[in-house]
């Protein structure tokens, strides 16, 4: 399982990256942490002519609050998400999600940008940024684009990134809301059989702007519109939760995988819905 023969370049700045892209065309591939890419190369699933290492580009680093958003540079490590105080304060959902990703040695090198760009439908972070209504900031030689997270994932392992365009950062609006992530995985650190990242506001006991994003149950993370509609404006009680569960039938069309049939995924998604919303309910009861 040796990697194929290929070239390697380091880009120390975005300008260097664009010129390297120009020199090598579409068979060049960027690498950040490489925790997914290099495993895929071991399987020889792809054979890029050149890897361009972007870990030395300063513009892609850093965690900061800028205006009304928390900005996470694309090179932010999963391990940073676990422990960074700004993340804990402004995006606790990400702090809760990161420990679910693989294992310490992977979290020490894997990046948020890599996870989003690879767009594994069972991964936690793509679902989380949709639940957080984040914006993906991309950059290319043509300049910057701001893509809503909910529009970023387009198909299985596909994103809205153009060729020779990369993720620069993710911006998460500083909004007070409840958030939770729950997943059902065979073993700790495995990709989930099914997972749910959810955010919502509770105002006077009523659900406002719920965002339920299911992962591991489709080609992309699924923002459940029908379930959200069943929740919006309702009091968060058992009946509402049941209605949201029922509405999921419209939202989800899961594929078969090694863990089981579509029917099982749908069932697990309903279980997750119950568990996550019950969790909010408990918080609500405690708050009251």
């Amino acid at each position: 399982m040796k990697w194929p023969a290929m070239g390697y370049d380091r880009a120390g700045s975005l300008d260097q990256l664009w010129s390297t892209f120009r020199a090598h065309g579409s068979s060049a591939q960027i690498i950040a942490g490489g925790q997914t890419l290099l495993a895929a190369l071991a399987f020889r699933l792809s054979e890029p002519s050149k890897l361009i290492d972007i870990t030395g580009i300063p513009e892609l680093r850093g965690i900061s609050v800028q205006g009304q958003a928390l900005r996470l540079g694309a090179l932010t490590l999963h391990a940073d998400l676990c422990r960074d105080p700004l993340v804990k304060a402004h995006a606790p959902l990400l702090a809760a999600a990161a420990p679910l990703i693989a294992h310490p040695a992977i979290r020490n090198r894997g990046t948020i940008g890599g996870s989003l760009a690879y767009a594994d439908p069972a991964a936690e972070l793509p679902a989380c940024i949709i639940a957080l209504d984040a914006t993906v900031i991309t950059v290319s030689a043509k300049g910057e684009r701001r893509i809503p997270a909910s529009a970023f994932f387009t198909d299985l392992l596909q994103t809205a990134l153009e060729p020779q365009e990369i993720i620069a950062a993710v911006e998460i609006p500083l909004t007070k809301r409840l958030g939770a992530i729950e997943e059902i995985a065979r073993r700790s650190g495995d990709y989930a059989m099914a997972g749910l990242a959810a955010t919502l506001h509770l105002e006077a006991g009523r659900v406002i702007k719920p965002r339920l994003v299911y992962f591991g149950v489709g080609k992309i993370p699924v923002l459940a519109a029908a379930a959200a509609k069943a929740l919006e404006g309702r009091s968060l009680d058992r009946a509402t939760i049941s209605a949201a569960q029922a509405a999921l039938a419209e939202d989800l069309d899961p594929p078969q995988d090694l863990h089981g049939p579509p029917e099982m995924k749908r069932h697990l998604a309903r279980v997750l819905t119950e568990r996550v919303l019950q969790g909010f309910l408990r918080e609500k009861v405690q708050a009251a």
Binding site: M6, Q35, F43, A105, G189
Partner: protein, 157 residues
Amino acid sequence: MIPITLTVNGEKVTRHVEPRRHLIDFLRLDLGLTGSHAGCEHGVCGACTLRVNGKIMRGCLILAASLDGADVVTIEGISESGEVADLQAAFVARNAAQCGFCTPGMVMTAAELLAEGGSPTRGEIREYLSGNYCRCTGYQAIVDAVEDTLRSRSAAP
């Protein structure tokens, strides 16, 4: 071939490497450091766990070419420095290694847990080690060894 200069176990090393060389093959084939093992070469088993710039990583998921200027510590280095002599003694005392193929990676992972301080429970130790596959033991002796080391370190003045 990419020129790199890095520190491996405290020694400065300069080499030219093919981009397709992962860190484990670089250590094993180019430097003769065979203590790090290639168990799966796709980042899952943890046998190749070692320390890069102070944090544990999977050696099979790192391009050697990307390590110009890096500080790499392998099982050989961490053994020579004595940093985990107590942990290694606990592994011996508890029979926490059988075939030993996972052991260097297991020690490197446990070393990071120890370095983080705190007083993790057995469940938290298990969780921290959950990316390191051991086929021989029932993991229990390994957890015992780590727990013993944590206890003796926290008891030390």
